[in-house]
Symmetry: C2
Subunit: 318 residues, 2 copies
Amino acid sequence: MEARHLRYALALAEHAHFGRAAGALGIAQPPLSKQIADLEREVGARLFDRTRRGVFPTAAGTAFLARARRALDEIAAASVDAARAARGETGRLRLGFIASALLEPLPDVLCRFGRERPDVQLELHEMATSCSTSVLVAGDLDVAITLGPPQGVGVERLVSVPIGHDHLIAVVSSSHPYAGQPSVSVEQLRRQPLIVASGEDEPAVITGLRALLGKDSPALSGATVARDVHTIIGLAACGMGVGLGPSRMLSAPRAGTWFCEVAPRTPLPDLVLSFAAQDRSPALNAFLDVIRKNCPDVGVALDHRLGTRGGAHRGGRH
Amino acid sequence: MEARHLRYALALAEHAHFGRAAGALGIAQPPLSKQIADLEREVGARLFDRTRRGVFPTAAGTAFLARARRALDEIAAASVDAARAARGETGRLRLGFIASALLEPLPDVLCRFGRERPDVQLELHEMATSCSTSVLVAGDLDVAITLGPPQGVGVERLVSVPIGHDHLIAVVSSSHPYAGQPSVSVEQLRRQPLIVASGEDEPAVITGLRALLGKDSPALSGATVARDVHTIIGLAACGMGVGLGPSRMLSAPRAGTWFCEVAPRTPLPDLVLSFAAQDRSPALNAFLDVIRKNCPDVGVALDHRLGTRGGAHRGGRH
DNA sequence: TCCCGGCGATATCTCCGGAGTATCGCGGAT
DNA sequence: ATCCGCGATACTCCGGAGATATCGCCGGGA
């Protein structure tokens, strides 16, 4: 059975007249008669009663027409849904990110993306940089925000672009002796209990700190280890010591805390956006569009990567 | 778009390989490639990613396939539903009947019909004989059970068959003086308050009573009028007088009542089953089958009517 | 009673497009 | 460098969808 049979049956039911139904369908009457006859033979039941006063569905025809209507609706919806999905208006976007990304680029980006693409199902997975990378390569994430460029097997299949520079700053309770200072020195850091991020989760940060404080520094080995920046800020606010983290912490001001620079200024790995060079879903393209709009310089770098490292340009046209 | 495109897309998604999908569909690979290409052009979006490792649906393809599956399910269900409706397994049966039919033929028939055709929606409309007839002719009932053959405009388009002979009996409270008697005479009836059916609802009964008791009999004109036999029995049980009704009342024995014959024996109009000679729905045919099984002699009369008065023999084959 | 007109079915022809065959182009593997 | 597997392309062919002409049936009207 073909969709044509359903359309013809519905038209016949609507016009109750072979000639007029055929006219509405843009065909002649004999083909319509034949198609309906074929349909009735295939179904094994008479679907229409041909009377002098008109053509009316039988009980079997009524049951058939109800299903036919739904079937044609589904077929029409299939095209519409596919087109919407192709434009990135529906679908799913699985985003992996380090916790500190929640401080600075994500609130803006997610808010805007949610507004522009309300029907895209966002899956947010907070995870360490190394984890993001492997999951991304395995195809279980669409895009990831990591600290420093991805490393490991399969990274050659990823496109990465830095989306923010960063350096180390300190955070203390506002009742802490250092509160009010514009900056703290390395000497001052060595004299205080420190709160740092876990080396396993974000090794790049700990490496930077080792370079700053000295390898095997007792201040560092005795430091409190937290799994993410929010915990670092929280612990610092409680007076547990001097928290050390990315300057992005400044965008999450919290009552009872004091942020200050660390001297000398210590750069941290860039925040990096990565995704598979191939198999970019329309939802991902929409996400990249939002990134482009949010920070034009990143957009330029993105276009450069996509232009040089292969992968079709922006989806949509075929 | 045709159902063929949906079937091909689903097969391709299932086998993830043009050649094997084509083989499963019983066609060669190039036609499948072309049909998928046509489909993608019509939808306006690429539905499948052709990779070295296989053919996988894109986001648009995934959305499309979900709808396609449902559409094909509806199409398959359309045939099944139509065939079931044609066999009278589903559908609707609108039955008009006089209240007294609930006493005798209907309990058996409805019980059996409900067991044999559980998915047929039964609409039961209690109504007077004259009402049944006109509604039946108007096409708003499928079958009717009336007292005496239908009369009025359009009855020539109906098929009618008697389904039960009847005569007048009396019902009284078990504390009534007549309780215990095998029969009551006309004299005895004239000496007691009577309870009879409304002449407007069932004129045939009242006509029979007039013949028995005498036109303008004071006993009759002073009688209590009830709209249906159940009320007659109930009023008689309360000691309100002598109830008069069809012998079918005997099949609804009720504590505290006494039924007895009326002498002389007075026949009442037959209980008649009627339906439109043409446009018999499968559900109606199923109902007639139940009638045939329930009372073989009625079945024979039925077959005779359908055989002689036109109308195709039992539906089903085409 | 006969004739006419409307409607659906049937017969026949045409032609489009779905399917088959052969081949190409492109990567990946040996 | 060669081979092989896979999808795309080019062409050919034929079945069937559709057009035209006509028939059969029935109902209304003169």
